[in-house]
Amino acid sequence: MTSEHTTDFAIEGHGDISVGVSGAGASGDGSASATRITPGNALRPEDIALEVRRGTAKPSGDVAEYALRLGDDALILAQRLGHWISRAPELEEDIALGNIALDQLGHARSFLTYAGAHWDKSEDDLAYFRREPEFRSAHLFEQPNGDFAVTIARQFIVSYYQFELYKRLLDSTDATIAAISAKALKEVDYHRDHSAQWVLRLAGGTEESRRRIIRGFKLLWPYVEELFEDDELTARLAEAGAGVQPSTLREDFDRLTGEVLAEAGLDAVNDLGLDRIPQSLGGGRRGKHSEHLGYLLAEMQVLAREHPGASW
């Protein structure tokens, strides 16, 4: 991990042009500043890469497969969210969605770096040089952005799911999975808040916004069940204490999302009809994806694949 240090304001490489803020324009009290910036102190993907190189972090085959799932979920979502930057409903929201995308991308990089250690592959090898059937993300993450309501509905489901997941993974017997989850948990907690605030506003705003958020939930609900499906891998990992059975997250997910939906005046049965929405067969964890992922990967991978082996 990095030690915290303050970045002083200095524009190097600009010769004799100094900022030299003086007189009345200066902020006055030197200690009280609204612009003191620091890089902070938290687990970064680079730290994991370093541990991998040193050989101090090496996942088992099962844990690597598991990290691949978590990493792919976050990567595909980050790729989707990144598209919003410069297109959001208001400039402030460009920044908010950008922050969430950056958080998810950070989680993806950490998980993929760790997973890659098992096969001697880098995060970029995994992101850019796997084929579609090799991706392990669930279908929800690859669903198109749609309008802002669809994106918020997707964020709402994802962040409440990820929160429950990372919360339990704090206790993972795999130290790296636990550490990445600890960093991710705090960020995803904020994502929950962001999406919940918007669910309240869209549901309780205008007739149009209510209609749109209801449509958003109906559009995405078929992909909820897949998030909570157990399989042999999760069973083995849960048994070993390194992972969790997704089905064990469902109860808390239902309760907490239900509370927000109730506050938003959205009745799961009467307004959203969630109980009658057929659940998609899924298959993302086995590499079976919807029609959307191919386009997403084509765009994401095009440049890297044009220059195999190149460094950027």
Partner: protein, 337 residues
Amino acid sequence: MASQKLQSVPGSPSGETALSPEEQERERAGQAYFDRIIAEDSRIEPRDWMPEAYRRTLLRQVSQHAHSEIIGMQPEANWITRAPSLKRKAILMAKVQDEAGHGLYLYSAAETLGQSRDKMMQDLIDGKARYSSIFNYPAVSWADMGAIGWLVDGAAICNQVPLCRASYGPYGRAMVRICKEESFHQRQGFEILLELSNGTPAQKQMAQDAVNRWYAPALMMFGPPDDDSPNSKQSMAWNIKRFSNDELRSRFVGMMVEQVKVLGLTLPDPDIRFNEETKKWEHGPLDWNEFKDVLAGKGPCNAQRMERRRQAHEDGAWVREAAAAYAAKQAQKEHAA
């Protein structure tokens, strides 16, 4: 004396004939106070008296600056989804996001001059406002992310660092924050080019090609030559501008000449030389007709950039309305409770 609500700057109205004696006196006192502040190189703050022309000049400059940040997001945002490594993707996302932030800081500053952000935004999408014409050029390769960071942001920083001392307080403060944050923008661009230059022949070619395309437009970002820049003199007298267009351009060329060597690339300008007499860097001729054409809307991407902004604004209308309606309902509920 009663405390005041924050309110519009009482500049001189357009028809000055109708001023009462007291108003004339206040104008005189205001002008004297303003002149003293400028002479002392101190700062004008929002509700100070200021000459109408000063306010108008600033409003135009700050809002154009803000629009440039917002439109300037687009050429780079186009590459977020295609960034060739995850690290570069994160950096680019953070950078484009910063640009939205910088636009907001600047709109904030402009609002203190008496115009709402909604009006400024409307002027932008109605085509009534201008933004830096460089963003009307296309970003066609990944190397453009490097060239934009190194040359375009480099030129912008050169321009902006002296603006931290602009006489209008809110503008200077916004620029301080922006310059702090932008210090990473140019470096990441430089790094992209350096990686490409040290990479495969195809990568190096990509980098050189991008530098070739962005060099001249970047030099033109400093504005027309001094003898063709009628407003510069007044802006300098008001301590808004600290250095002339040509002065800044020359400094910039001097820095790039050295930096391009580290990159192992060349600048597409055989006429660059250091003038021993003037002690200034000189560059080859720039096509100012093209500059004017692009400014006039004839650039390759003018229509596309405007349409994208308009689309985002219009697509977002229902969201903004929903949030406003929700806030109104909540306020009503609280009021009733």
